[in-house]
Amino acid sequence: MSAREEGHGMAMAERGTGKRRVGKSSKKGGKTKRNYKFKALPPSSAKVSVKDKKLFKKRARDYNSDEDDEASKQPEVTIREKIFTDANMGPNYDEIEEEQFSDRDENSDGEDHGEIHSGITRFAADGCSAFRTAFKAIMKKTKGDDTLGPVLSAHKHLIAEKLAEEEAEWKAKSQARKAKHLVAEKGHVKPASYLDSHEKILIGVATKGVLTQFPPSTPGITVVKLFNAVNKAQHAQKGLNPSRSKDAKVLKKRRKEAFFSELGKTSKGDSKAQTSSNPNGDEAPAWAPLCDNYMLANPKLKDWDRKQETSEGDDFAAMSGDESYED
């Protein structure tokens, strides 16, 4: 801790004790401490213990010499060094400088001039060998062959060139990215926030258009018609239990009537056919006879073999046979 710091800390302590003074028994102790510090301060800054001196010497040696072996080679330097360090490298170098500037001057005057000379010579000879070697190394250096030489300011045009090159590269990259993005976004259209005429027409078509999950033999069913027809058909079957065979028959008849009356057509001959007549998609569970309610769903299977033949012949026929409506 430096003297100034100590003093500052003391002042703080003083203030602190001053605050705490009221009704405190430890105020005496605080005072003694302060006094002690005042006493102790001058010797600590002036004198350095032998142990510390050794330590400082060693540090100074390490600092000055480049290599360890160099220091060991020249033991006689240590004497000079000792004085050198004594003069300048005290533990509280700054304090000494501040407080006892005149004293130090006197001291240095009192010592031999030769000592100081030797210190300077030493500085020139081996004290800063590292600095010397570094300086020499720099001076020896020739201009490098790399694009940006050792001294940047000497290659302004090179830097400019490199920057321009980077910029061009970046531009090309960004353009490529843009092109890729354009390709990715091709055909992607953000819709308008309002309903334009085309969309309105399409909604009209969708509302009044023909549902196609029914065979082409049945007339067109629009969404509206579907809702109405479903209502009629399901209204008819209220109060009847479809699991009873007698009710089932009645249900079937009623359903058919209701359905066709809703669609505005008389019922034609039964257009039933087995749905899974498509030869392509005959998996075991898809086969209707494996179904639990197979016979309940369509009790009459008259012309199953005929249908099979026709469907096998042509691909389109197979397709149309597949979607034929089943009651």
Partner: protein
């Protein structure tokens, strides 16, 4: 041994499509339920990957929502998986530098329709464009209805496309279907002049007719209405708000319900069918029809190379 190894390598990483107890066959009608895979065999750019995800959501519930493809998966791998899983349709997206294409194929033997997608908008784009995007919880729990319009039945390839899209979703049995499951609608509109197909996906909503907007909102929202500006409580009911903008159109689109559908749509009241778009939206063109699954003879080609 070697064959076994390669087989293992090429396996498609797929989570069970649907719940295991869900059979391939509709338990009411005995019809086979069509199922689908939506995938692509290349690395897609971001928006197209999103489109693929939207298509998977559209194909719900009978599709593999989290189907994972790898680079080394060939079409055969998907085909091998599709058999035991009962998958009947493949939807394959492909992106080249020039065009984006969608192939719709029937497994295992084709045919394959190749569509070129001219324009598309994602579901998120459409939701962003709307003031109040609608997505009820059980929207994707039932298959959509499908409407095909303008296809006609003269041209063979159009007829084939009609049949293909008809069978991509399960058939409706009018006697057993629940109206609450009819929540979505897929529209394919063929334009004869431009030869383009508009692909749209809507949600179906029923709204009671003949009830003022205030009352409807009051019933729907469960909130205490603001009566500060009214002289009497009866004003709330009698005072006419601004009328609905499409009151005229609704007459054609009204239905009478036999059973209650939600809180608002009671039985024996009239309801209007309203459609609101939920993405994705596509404009595509049928360019090629192949006999087999992505192979075989070309039945139709837009650019007239064969026939």
């Amino acid at each position: 041994m070697g064959r076994f190894k390669s087989n293992k390598k090429g396996r498609v990483n797929v989570k069970p499509i649907v719940k295991k107890n869900q059979a391939n066959v509709d338990h009411v009608t005995g019809d086979k339920i069509p199922k689908s895979f939506v995938f692509s065999r290349m690395k897609l750019p971001g928006p197209v990957r999103q489109l693929q995800m939207d298509l998977r959501k559209l194909m719900l519930p009978y599709t593999a929502l989290s189907l994972k493809e790898k680079k080394r998966n060939t079409l055969r791998d998907f085909l091998n998986v599709s058999g035991p899983m009962g998958v009947t349709h493949f939807l394959m997206l492909a992106k080249t530098a020039s065009a984006l294409s969608l192939r719709v194929a029937r497994t295992p033997q084709g045919p394959t329709l190749t569509f070129k997608i001219h324009q598309y908008s994602l579901a998120s784009d459409i939701a962003q464009s709307q003031l109040r995007p609608r997505c009820p919880q059980d929207l994707f729990k039932s298959p959509p209805l499908i409407v095909l319009s303008g296809f006609g039945s003269q041209e063979l390839h159009l007829k084939l496309a009609t049949i293909m899209f008809q069978n991509i979703f399960p058939a409706i049995d009018i006697n057993t279907v629940k109206l609450s499951t009819c929540q979505r609608l897929v529209l394919l509109n063929y334009n004869k002049d431009t030869k383009l197909i508009d692909f749209r996906h809507y949600s179906i909503r029923l709204q009671p007719v003949g009830v003022s907007r205030r009352i409807r909102k009051f019933v729907q929202n469960h909130q205490v209405p603001d009566l500060r500006n009214l002289q009497d409580v009866s004003d709330f009911v009698t005072k006419a708000g601004y009328g609905s903008e499409s009151e005229g159109d609704e007459e054609a689109a009204t239905v009478t319900l036999s059973s209650d559908l939600g809180r608002v749509n009671r039985s024996s009241t009239k309801s209007a069918v309203k459609l609101q778009e939920i993405g994705p939206r596509m404009t595509m063109q049928l360019v090629k029809v192949e006999e087999g699954l992505c192979s075989g003879g070309i039945i139709f080609s837009e650019y007239g190379k064969s026939c």
